[in-house]
Symmetry: C2
């Protein structure tokens, strides 16, 4: 099934207790597409960059067979920049700088060729823009949506409208608690399912992820890693691994979604092992399948 | 295999956002023994209470076939009291009061009849006292040890000596990070295994638990609960469920330990559904097995 990814592309400056990178490739659409590219060669990207966006990053994305017809390059514009610093435990971070630049006026236009895409991933952007994207599509089969605290607080009404259209909402635990206004995660999940999305994934970082539907609950651990180099993009990579797997499976059921959650966790585990997108550029089917099997061993217990 | 449990017995006053209980039965030895009593009828308890310890609590413990020969009742003494308040999210708590009373001078004396016990659980007390216990035993087969931040910081040398004798250390994630002085939990675990314990369980509260040995790593989720009434004693109950299962299994291997972790999680999930020990008094084999099977479903994904 073809995939449409709408989100940000940016240049990230990231500092950790151990190292630093400057103006590295980043953005939700980038992480989602790269992760999905290990499962699908039918990925359509919609986003915006400035004229300063390095050609090598364009090459990197198109080298992974990601279609860039939907990538707007704004003449004279400056690409979105983000800068953050991870603290000692790598679980919390400070944002040092957010320069929206061309992303400020981002208006996602879906090329004619993309409008029949079946699997839609709405990266974390203004819910009004996410809705605009949906309005341009012909017959999407499964809509995956991300959001964040900022939109939950400031565009709650637009977000609530959008959630009625969404098949799978993917949020972090703190976002879920905020959206549902309930501290218990399972209760929060049930409240969110009442808001419209048919299914919900709650990401808990180093503690793994939950999948909840009206019929099932599934719990996946995060892959236990001794060296976490850079957590940036892990959540988007998770969504990208999920949608990639669903595209390859070519069928959407709760059982396939459970496996998609594990594949999402697999890709996220590779992502955080290196800076920026470096963990997502030299994977292959064997490495991915091997880690998928390690997940199974990790949770297996006898009868 | 016979079980020896050494730890505290106390009267807990617990406040949550929803309710409050006063002078309810509590203490590590209590939670451990009650949880284990669903698997074994050969449980030997060593602890201390004052003359004010209610007879009904003695009845409750002996009614569960827990041997109380090792329970010292200090004439004219006052029982250990603890009072705590859980905050809105039920994950963090404030200690309002700790009155050690007779527990201050606790000197665990192991009755002759207990000295051949095979499975030993050293509840969270001064590591010097935990060592004294071990010195009184004839031929223990498997020693499980709990500790806390207080001892890691103030009795580090004694604790390090003790860890060399321990088969399984059971600590929380924050305790593991403190003991190993490393923020990454997997690294911390490997550092701790170097200190002596053959195996390690790290409890992560609502995020489940890890089992680590030199050969294996196992991740268990916590049971997803919509209503957490009182988290007090969940960690001790977890250890009690583990040791109880090992006693019944009558063999100790990594595979049995994995199942023990799940049974520990099962018992802990029942514990937190009610105040004090109320969740641990009306269980039976069917209820326990049923939740064990739900755990398997929770993490199951297809090949």
């Amino acid at each position: 099934m073809s995939i449409l990814v709408v989100g940000s592309l940016g240049l990230d400056t990231i500092e950790t207790p151990f190292s630093k990178v400057e103006e590295a490739l980043g953005g939700s659409a980038v992480y989602i597409s790269l992760a999905a590219s290990y499962f699908s060669q039918d990925i359509n990207l919609v986003g915006v960059v400035g004229e300063d966006f390095p050609e090598k990053y364009i090459q990197l994305l198109s080298g992974r067979k990601i279609d860039l017809e939907g990538l707007q390059i704004i003449k004279g514009g400056k690409t979105f920049r983000w800068s953050g610093k991870y603290l000692y435990d790598m679980n919390s971070r400070e944002t040092l700088l957010t320069e929206l630049n061309v992303f400020k006026d981002f208006n996602p236009i879906i090329p004619e060729n993309y409008r029949d895409s079946k699997l839609i991933v709405l990266g974390n952007i203004d819910p009004e823009l996410q809705m605009n994207v949906l309005n341009q599509l012909n017959n999407p089969e499964f809509i995956i949506c991300d959001t964040m605290n900022y939109w939950i607080e400031r565009k709650n009404e637009a977000l609530r409208q959008l959630l009625k259209m969404v098949d799978l909402l993917v949020v972090s635990d703190s976002e879920a608690r905020l959206l549902a206004n309930h501290p218990n995660l399972i209760r929060a999940a049930k409240i969110i399912l009442q808001m419209g999305p048919k299914k919900l994934v709650i990401k808990k970082g180093e503690h793994g992820a939950f999948l909840l539907t009206n019929d099932t609950i599934f719990v996946a651990p995060a892959f236990p890693l001794e060296d976490i180099i850079d957590p940036t993009g892990a959540g988007d990579t998770f969504a990208g691994g999920m949608v990639g797997y669903l595209s390859r499976a070519n069928t959407i059921s709760d059982e396939e979604l459970k496996k998609a959650v594990i594949y999402g966790s697999v890709l996220a585990s590779f992502c955080v092992e290196k800076f920026s997108v470096d963990g997502l550029i030299d994977l292959d089917e064997a490495k991915i399948k091997n880690r998928f099997n390690q997940f199974r061993k990790l949770i297996y217990f006898e009868d």
